[in-house]
């Protein structure tokens, strides 16, 4: 029972990281039909930014505020990845609208460049951040211990999700975004600047990956390949959950995250990967078009 609750807890915290990364992927795919393979590298950048902020606090600020570095790192990581995302969209992604497979490949080229840049700047050895002291330890209920940093991650993701929900469904910008997603040409005719909508959406998605990077930094060492470890699962969550609907992404991420933690606990991480893949393939047997249905009078898009 204790093990079960612990797995559940770890599953939820992994799911929430996957959720943050897959959300950006799903929204950009739904909006622009673009898959961003460099998304994992935004996560990596977010993690490195946490490290940079920590170094800054250690070297230039009094020790008494040292613990606050993490609070500062979150907006900083978001800002940096948001800007990088905006640049990437402006110079690369905007040439790739509708070319799903090509977008996947071109962004892989970007990902190679970003990984090498990370190696050049931060070295090939992994770096570590020390979790702020207020995240040390955890709460113990009965025989189960819930560590503060995982609880914090879950909380942070919940807050992010809340903001995204507000932006998507309760703001003027969200209305425009959903309009472009459903019918780009029509939205443009209504006077929506779809270029701007695309750019902001893509940047927000990248920023979310940056925040995910902050949370990853709490869990282990950071190196240039840290993004790759999470991104495959995030892609699978997108396949499972479909695009354009928040709920789909939440469900997809939860299934992928919990499935991998549970199988990992009872077997091994190797079999977990195989089982997650199997789940997705089986799911596609049942609902191959359940992801999104294109209704159009032309045969092939």
């Amino acid at each position: 029972m204790v093990q079960f609750i612990n797995s559940l807890f770890n599953g939820i915290s992994l799911s929430s990281i996957i959720l943050l990364t897959s959300l950006g992927l799903a929204i950009t795919f739904g909006l622009m039909r673009v898959i961003n393979m460099a998304h994992g590298e935004f996560l990596m950048i977010g993690a490195y930014m946490t490290y940079v902020v920590q170094q800054f606090f250690i070297h230039y600020l009094p020790e008494s505020v040292g613990d606050l570095y993490y609070i500062a790192a979150i907006p900083f990581a978001f800002g940096v990845t948001y800007l990088l995302g905006s640049l990437l969209e402006r110079f690369v992604i905007s040439h790739l609208y509708g070319r799903e497979i090509d977008s996947l490949l071109a962004t892989w080229g970007i990902s190679l460049i970003l990984q090498q840049a990370a190696r050049n700047i931060f070295g090939t050895q992994g770096v570590n951040v020390t979790a702020p002291s207020f995240l040390n330890g955890g709460v113990t209920i009965g025989k189960c211990t819930f560590s503060w940093n995982r609880l914090f991650i879950i909380l942070m993701v919940a807050v992010c999700m809340f903001f995204i929900w507000i932006i998507m469904y309760r703001s003027n910008f969200g209305k425009q975004m959903r309009a472009v997603m459903q019918n780009r040409t029509m939205a443009q005719c209504m006077g929506i600047n779809s270029r701007k909508v695309d750019n902001i959406t893509f940047s927000i998605g990248s920023g979310l990956a940056g925040i995910a990077g902050c949370s990853v930094a709490l869990l282990g060492s950071i190196d240039s390949t840290v993004g790759q470890n999470y991104i495959v699962n995030s892609f699978m969550a997108v396949v499972l959950g479909g695009v354009g609907k928040l709920l789909g992404t939440v469900l997809g991420s939860t299934i992928i995250g919990s499935a991998s933690i549970f199988t990992e606990n009872y077997t091994s991480s190797t079999i977990a990967k195989a089982i997650v893949l199997l789940i997705v393939i089986l799911f596609l047997q049942k609902r191959p078009q359940g992801l999104f249905v294109i209704k159009s009078r032309s045969l092939d898009e």
């Binding site: 840049a117 892609f235 990967k273 893949l277």
Partner: protein
């Protein structure tokens, strides 16, 4: 002019093959100074073979597989297991010993026999690809969804091969193996190395010819038809899922053969050959060479690997990652046809424009 366009790729391939065939002679004549270049060209031949396979499904059929490293490695492991057993004389290997085994595991036993090993080099990747393809294509999963699943497949395969360390030697892979013709190291075995090189070249030529045959007739038209309008092809009465699965298996088998060739020249095989980035590297060769033309895949594989071989030593190794990343990105963004496309379409188009402009200025 028209016949040149039709024959051009074959002539180009014949030239590449001829240059390759001269490489051992050049080594003998002292023009090439190190036998490692010939070994490297042998690896390039393997890369060209797998590139042809990727071009068949991506360039022609429009299915992007990010998991061909898996099939490449499966073929490679089959070959390596046979070669390793040649070394141990059928006994158990060091890593099995360390893994706690006392006798040869069942999966290794067939690899004692050369013909069986050869069959398995084709059968193992083929079967895996058939099963995966069957379940995915049957439900018309396509586009990026297929790519993502193929990526996850490689990922799972990679970690399984590492986890099964008593059978596969985990991270280290199967190392210190000779070739099917025995040792090729050193001056004494130069002849064996040349023979191996020519055998590989012959395999490349056969694979090239087969790919040209497949893509030239009605079948080739169908592949393009599936790429451009999958549903339309269904409504023309073709069972597209079967076609896709067939070409996927063909492509996986090609990758397996390439892996087997590669092992002979590389002397080892490791799970790093089945990572996602290794798989996408193969796609990069095809993209830069020119997708949708078999010759483009061959050119891309040789060109990129030769560049990498010459550049990625010393301080250049870091810059190489930037170069290849940027080149790939720019190719996809602006030169869809890769090098072949630039030669056959973009340059003539620019030339035409210049001609017209000259005419206009003259008229003015």
């Amino acid at each position: 002019m028209k016949s040149l366009k039709k024959k051009g790729p074959d002539i180009c391939f014949a030239m590449i093959a001829a240059v390759l065939a001269c490489a051992p002679l050049m080594l003998n004549a002292g023009i090439l100074n190190s036998s490692s270049i010939v070994l490297f060209l042998g690896k390039c031949i393997a890369f060209a073979i797998v590139a042809i396979g990727i071009d068949l499904i991506w360039g022609y059929t429009g299915i992007l597989s990010l998991g061909h490293g898996l099939y490449f490695a499966l073929g490679g492991y089959c070959m390596a297991m046979y070669l390793k057993l040649q070394e141990t004389g059928g006994g158990i290997t060091d890593f099995m010993h360390i893994g706690g085994m006392t006798e040869l595991p069942l999966v290794w036993r067939p690899f004692n026999y050369f013909p069986v090993a050869l069959i398995l080099i084709i059968a193992v990747p083929g079967t895996v690809a058939y099963l995966i393809g069957y379940f995915i294509f049957r439900n018309r999963v396509k586009g990026v969804y297929f790519s993502i699943i193929s990526q996850a497949l490689t990922w799972a395969g990679y970690s399984i091969f590492i986890a099964l360390s008593p059978y596969t030697n985990g991270n280290v892979g199967i190392t210190e193996i000779k070739t099917i013709l025995g040792s090729i190291k050193g001056e004494a075995h130069k002849q064996a190395m040349f023979e191996l090189f020519y055998i590989s070249l012959a395999i490349l030529i056969v694979v090239y010819a087969a790919a040209r045959f497949l893509t030239s007739g009605k079948f080739g038209c169908l592949l393009v038809a599936i790429r451009d309008g999958e549903n339309r092809t269904y409504f023309s009465g073709y069972k597209v899922s079967a076609y896709k699965n067939f070409i996927y298996v063909v492509s996986a088998v090609t990758a397996g053969i390439a892996g087997a060739v590669f092992v002979n020249f590389n002397g080892s095989i490791t799970p790093s050959q089945m990572t996602i980035s290794y798989s996408i590297a193969m796609v990069i060769w095809v993209a830069i060479g020119g997708r949708g033309t078999i010759i483009g895949a061959v050119i891309g594989a040789f060109l990129i690997n030769l560049c990498e071989y010459n550049l990625s030593s010393g301080s250049m190794v870091e810059i190489w990652q930037y170069i290849i990343g940027a080149a790939f990105c720019i190719t996809i963004l602006f030169f869809k046809g890769g090098i072949v496309g630039i030669i056959t379409e973009q340059i003539p188009a620019v030339a035409e424009k210049l001609k017209n402009r000259k005419k206009k200025t003259k008229e003015a």
